[in-house]
Amino acid sequence: MTGELINEISVLWSWLSPAWLLIGACLAAYLVAFWGGLETRSWWFAGSLAGLFVAYVSPVYALADGVMFTAHMIQHLVLLLIVPLCFLLSLPRARMAEWLARPKVEPLGRLLSFAPVGWALGLSVMWVWHVPTLCTASLQSSWLGVFQDVTFVVAGLAFWWPVFSPVKAQRLAPASAALYLFTACVGCTLLGIYLTFTPISVCPVFARPAAGTGLLEAVRAGGFSAGMDQRLGGLLMWVPPCVLYAGAIVAVCRRWYAGDEEAAATGESLEASESVK
């Protein structure tokens, strides 16, 4: 795309976004919650914050707001996949184990570790928010938009929990985790194929956006048509998540070959109960 367009986009940073409050609050909450129990892995939390930054401060935010379906998609993916994953990876193991063992919290952990819940949540937010009416509605009502973003983060946490829970006992056995991720990849592949190849405008706001945004005209003049926008969005829905899932499967395999005694033991108890049936 042309250089002019790049210039236009580069002024779209939302430096004064209230999202800074959110980022600051998250950082503060994290530090307060885990102060004294921080581990090296806590650096992963920077990834979560960076995700929020990309989603709300970078030009992605301005473009996602009814200009580019692609940017909208990037925002979703960051909120659904990157932010929760980095958060889970950052959680200090010892502190979390202790906390999750508390009687009041324990049922929550157990619910999260029930794989079908995470799988269904993770995939259904992807699919449901791309039903044309809902997709349009979420852009027209800011409250619905916020709700949408919250569901992405929550569903993302639920999705990753059975694979990367800070407590080993709550993780799926390696083979099941691989299956979990593989089927999730199939799910987003189908959605990606649908978005990429369907002649229907999945999010009509982007195909016929409200007139008057000079930015959009610049985007279109750069040769980036509505159809291309949706196809690129569909490919983004498809390929990056699958690459991420494939990466997660590799991580699971590594864990499995390392013969991690503890993980293997928990996996084994699940598997054993399976084979007893």
Partner: protein
């Protein structure tokens, strides 16, 4: 010895096992025909493949003779087109897959210390589908014409208006038959690896050949149904007048390509992964070292498995998919280079510092490494989209995939044959003849296919029956044909070596090469149930540990212990089958969405379907899942009466649902809507029809279980079997939920 394995064979009702006793000739043949022994089935697979290898090779020779000179008229264009179609189809489906399945059949149970595969009779059935399919395919020569639309039968060339004769129909039927056999065989193989491992053989310890055979089986289970669903649609086009792939009537030429390559690209790995496995056995043994980085070799295979489903469109860079799709698929394709590179590195590192014995098997393994790297690198060139735009569909691509499939798969197979022949027959293959064959093949192969790359750069398209006398073309084509003759001579030497060594070869003994894995712990050839005694399995190389107690692997390299996980094989088999059915239905549903959204013209006007009425029948079908669950609970709880009652209700609900479908069909047909009316009707009848068949199949299965229950053969003790059947029944219901949502409620339109 192996409790689980013993159980399983007993459960199979003591299928007849044939000894190697001396019998009358007729009896001997019959004993092979009726055998269910995995080793004999394996050998039959391999021999069938060798038979078709000779045929497919002759087809290649005829083509090479035709192309040896410009404007040659040795064979007609019609016959040439049949030759390359049959050559491709034969080599992929009747040689490549069977020979690899054959080796897996023979050696996987041996390598994991099992007595046989999980379902020996299913195994025999899978095998017999193969000659049946081969017969169907070649029978086409007796009819009007052999298939002549290329091995990937691109639509619309393969549709009735452009190929009206029956060759393509035989092609479709043969591939369906062989596809069903391959999926059944793959399910068997996957379940065998999961459920029949000897104690101590954890999944992290299985030999790499077994691991690759396992992954190949998973690939087959998930890839073949894509082809089957495309073939079914093409057959419906050709015989029932639908137009899925006829653009002139609203269909899509590209949909066939998508469906074919969703199968076709994983197929490449189905053909090459087992060879990777063979190489990973041969190189360590002849270097007298363990495989370098076992977990990287095994893990990279998983990565290849995952990526192989995401790169099919790199076969379609020239169709104009759009730049983003091109780039994403290019990246996916380039990524596959990484796990493949990891493997090459590990094989090289295994040789490094070893004590390399240049037996013929090892020579082929080394040739494999070099040729495969070349084939892989030209593959990377094709991943750079613009290079593909120049060179796809030229002789460059012919050179590329022959380097992968001959330099890779076939050289791997030769290495494996020289390595395992002693185990299979008790005699060594002649090293002298082997070296002669090696030289003929390496020289002939490189002469033939290296030159193809140049021809591609010179602009020669693939699949031309002749060419005009451009500068250089005649010379290179002539030399290329000469190379093919050398390979044919090499094959003759090979077949002679097999023949003579089987009779007069040196006696091998149990472990002539100093092999590491369990197949070398038994006699050559192994007895009917494989082992009289298994060595203790505490590492990846139990036979090495036994022979070198002071250097045993488990002392220096810890591997995850076997925790005894051996799932119930019935449940595993049904789950694998359901997974493969999922792919089949997903593709059918995708075709519905493709043809019924936007202006594709599936349906003009309102939907003729009666949504409320079908809603009721949907509810009835879903209720049958609940009643099934009640039946299952009753059976587990020992309540035989309740079990039979609930099961009967389930069957009746299923029948009522089918009745509902019959009413729907009758209504549509009365209002003049049949499968060839328009694309909506074609997709509707195809999807619901196949679903109906599945419900019907489920009802038959449940009825059989009901009868068994009545007779007292299916009781609490065997409730596992019933639960396994339940996976299928629930699956059929779940499919309907999607069918109802997409076709009736039209949620995606």
């Amino acid at each position: 010895m192996n409790g689980e394995a013993t159980d399983s064979i007993e459960q199979d009702g003591g299928a007849p096992k044939d000894g190697a006793t001396a019998e009358a000739p007729m009896g001997k043949i019959l004993s092979w025909v009726t055998t269910v022994d995995h080793k004999r089935v394996g050998i039959m697979y391999i021999l069938t493949a060798v038979f078709f290898l000779v045929i497919g090779g002759c087809e290649a020779l005829l083509m090479r003779i035709q192309l040896a000179f410009p404007e040659n008229d040795f064979i007609s264009p019609a016959f040439f087109n049949q030759m390359f179609t049959m050559h491709g189809t034969t080599m992929v489906f009747l040689v490549g897959m069977p020979v690899l399945i054959g080796f897996a059949n023979y050696f996987v149970p041996l390598q994991i210390g099992a007595k046989d595969v999980a379902f020996p009779r299913l195994n025999a059935m899978s095998f017999w589908m193969l000659p049946f399919g081969g017969f169907l395919l070649y029978y086409s020569f007796m009819t009007s014409t052999a298939p002549d639309a290329g091995w990937f039968s691109y639509a619309p060339l393969s549709t009735k208006p452009y190929t009206s004769l029956g060759g393509v129909d035989y092609w479709i039927l043969a591939l369906l038959v062989m596809g069903i056999g391959s999926v059944a065989g793959a399910i068997n193989m996957a379940v065998t690896v999961l459920c029949l491992r000897a104690p101590g053989m954890s999944l992290q310890r299985v030999p790499l050949f077994t691991w690759m055979a396992f992954i190949t089986a998973l690939l087959t289970i998930l890839a073949l149904p894509a082809l089957n669903s495309a073939l079914a649609m093409l057959f419906i086009d050709r015989w029932l007048g639908a137009a899925f792939f006829e653009p002139a009537r609203g269909g899509s030429a590209l949909l066939w390509q998508h469906f074919f390559w969703i199968f076709g690209h994983p197929e490449v790995y189905i053909l090459v992964l087992p060879a990777f496995g063979m190489i990973s056995e041969v190189i360590p043994v002849f270097s007298r070292k363990p495989i370098y980085g076992y977990s990287f070799v095994a893990g990279s295979t998983v990565v290849i498995f995952l990526l192989s489903y995401g790169v099919w469109a790199h076969h379609m860079f020239a169709v104009g998919l759009g730049m983003f799709a091109d780039i994403f698929f290019a990246i996916g394709t380039l990524l596959i280079a990484l796990p493949t590179g990891v493997k090459v590195f590990n094989w090289t590192a295994t040789m490094w510092g070893g004590s390399i014995q240049l037996k013929v098997s090892m020579l082929f393994a080394i040739a494999f490494l070099i040729e495969f790297v070349l084939g892989g690198l030209t593959g990377v060139m094709f991943a750079a989209v613009p290079v593909d735009w120049q060179l796809t569909d030229t002789y460059f691509v012919v050179g590329h995939f022959h380097f992968v499939l001959i330099g890779g798969t076939v050289f791997g197979l030769f290495a494996a044959t020289y390595y395992w022949f002693p185990k299979m027959t008790g005699r060594m293959l002649s090293e002298g003849l082997g070296k002669l064959q090696f030289v003929l093949w390496v020289v002939g192969f490189n002469l033939t296919f290296m030159l193809h790359h140049f021809l591609g750069v010179m602009g020669m398209p693939r699949r031309v029956y002749t060419y005009s006398d451009e500068p250089g073309w005649a010379l290179l084509n002539g030399l290329s044909s000469l190379g093919a003759v050398l390979m044919a001579l090499g094959t003759l030497v090979f077949v002679w070596n097999l023949w003579i060594s089987k009779r007069k070869g040196k006696v091998a003994g149990n472990n002539p090469w100093g092999g590491f894995t369990l197949e070398w712990a038994t006699t050559s050839p192994p007895p009917v149930e494989n082992f009289t005694e298994l060595p203790e399995i505490k590492s990846r190389r139990p036979v090495w540990d036994r022979d070198h107690p002071e250097l045993a692997d488990w002392k220096s390299a810890k591997t995850p212990e076997d925790k005894g996980w051996r799932p119930f094989k019935g449940k595993m088999a049904i789950s694998a089958f359901v997974a493969s059915e999922v792919v089949f239905f997903v593709l059918l549903l995708v075709s519905f969405v493709v043809f019924n959204s936007g202006d594709r013209g599936g349906l003009d006007g309102p939907s003729p379907l009666n949504v409320p009425r079908t809603g009721v029948f949907t509810f009835i079908l879903l209720a049958s899942s609940v009643t099934f669950w009640f039946a299952e609970r009753a059976l587990r709880g020992g309540n035989q009466g309740g079990f039979l009652r609930w099961l009967l209700i389930t069957i009746v609900l299923g029948l009522v649902f089918l009745g509902g479908q019959a009413i729907e069909y009758a209504g549509l047909i009365q209002s003049g809507i049949t499968i060839h009316s328009n694309l909506f009707a074609s997709t509707f009848f195809t999807v619901t029809g196949f679903h109906g068949f599945h419900v019907f199949g489920g009802i038959v299965a449940l009825t059989i279980l009901f009868i068994l229950g009545r007779k007292g053969d299916l009781t609490q003790k065997r409730s596992k079997v019933f639960s396994a059947a339940g996976i299928y029944w629930h699956f059929v219901d779940v499919v309907w939920i999607f069918v109802f949502a997409i076709i009736y409620l039209r949620v995606l339109q």
